[in-house]
Symmetry: C2
Subunit: 238 residues, 2 copies
């Protein structure tokens, strides 16, 4: 499994992904699930994936080949974010077809966040069928993979107007809850923040399993949860 | 779907269940998923179910028939909690067999908490296959149904030594997170607390959808989550 998360705030977009891949609990490995495509002043995009690793790698290879060979349509030439989604969706469907041979389909789902000059910034989920949806102002986050453990904190904290620091912390808590509850999601955790309307490279950080900041955050959150529970009005039995 | 939760503390056991049943999103109904069997001074047991409603009702009907007709083995004669689990597991397997006719199996999973005089109190999960497990002192809670949304708060707060008030609040927050994130889990929420070693009837309360206490708890928790996030050390970008 995998857990990836995208959040679109008023001024920023946050992308986060874990790095664990598993083909059974006895076959665990570490692969980044985050890729970046950008030309300063022209476009900045971040892609995250959840699903079959072979399909994911085939899609990424095809995207990079198109850029290298300057194909008419590629990530550095598409005109806007919906076109970028359509482009990736098509490649994904092709790669899944190639790998099936009539057997089971090895699906991959993507989150794409980015901005291209002259068109609006956007956060999208690209389904394995190649179609896609944008985030909404009501629920400005999208999740793929093992989404349930980390959803409650986002449901309670994340809105478009949420300040960046708070949203980053909520995303880290959401990821940490998922890692704690599910063995198939694991570090390094990758985090990327894009500044909307800048078209410049964003900020990137990766947290290893022994990262001091994440360990401190986990301990603090455990204590804060107990304290928060104790601040609730206890149930008065009649 | 359904969400039921059992917690075994040092001195108490907590059982909680939602009341929504659904056969598709256009066929929603309300049924209690909690049943109690007790004889003061001799035994107290609480049963919760998640799964097929017809199977559940068949099991409950069979349990009640055995009590009414004073069958040699019934909930008021079994000698200890493992025997009670075995008894319910057998009935459950029988009911599932009757209803399939070779087609799909309509499964139900149970949580059983209770105590019978002369033997230890226990919290158990009875699988649809009729076998069962007890809770552990490391992880003294069991969940059935839609378990993921409500697990992180339990993972962080619940231990055997957790005070009753705190554990009840964590259970309510866990249920509320699940209701907020999943349409197929809904009120009334039923809550039962058994005092270990008392063998007396426990405390019971049900919260309707418009329950003032639950509404206040939900609002308070939203605020407390924002406050807790803001108390974490923000990420310092290099």
């Amino acid at each position: 499994m995998t857990y990836c998360l995208g959040i679109k705030l008023n001024q920023h977009m946050i992308l986060m992904s874990d790095s664990r891949t598993s083909a059974g609990v006895d076959n665990i490995s570490t692969y980044s699930k985050m890729w970046r495509y950008g030309v300063p002043g022209d476009r900045q995009m971040v892609l995250c994936s959840a699903g079959n690793l072979a399909t994911t790698q085939a899609v990424i290879t095809a995207i990079e080949k198109d850029i290298r060979e300057a194909a008419p349509v590629n990530m550095l030439t598409v005109k806007n974010m919906p076109d970028a989604c359509k482009y990736i969706g098509n490649i994904s469907v092709e790669c899944q077809k190639l790998n099936t041979g009539g057997g089971p389909v090895f699906e991959t789902t993507f989150i794409l966040a980015g901005e291209i000059v002259g068109s609006p910034a956007g956060l999208y989920m690209i389904y394995s069928q190649g179609n896609f949806i944008a985030s909404s102002s009501q629920v400005p986050f999208l999740q793929i993979g093992e989404t349930k453990y980390g959803k409650p904190i986002l449901d309670r904290v994340i809105q478009e107007k949420t300040p960046l620091d708070r949203a980053v912390l909520a995303a880290l808590v959401s990821m940490d809850a998922t890692i704690k509850s599910n063995l198939t999601v694991g570090p390094p955790i990758e985090l990327y923040v894009l500044d909307i309307a800048s078209l410049q490279e964003g900020r990137y950080v990766a947290f290893d399993s022994d990262d001091e900041y994440m360990q401190k955050l986990r301990k603090s959150w455990n204590i804060l949860m107990e304290q928060a529970i104790d601040k609730l009005e206890p149930l008065h039995w009649n």
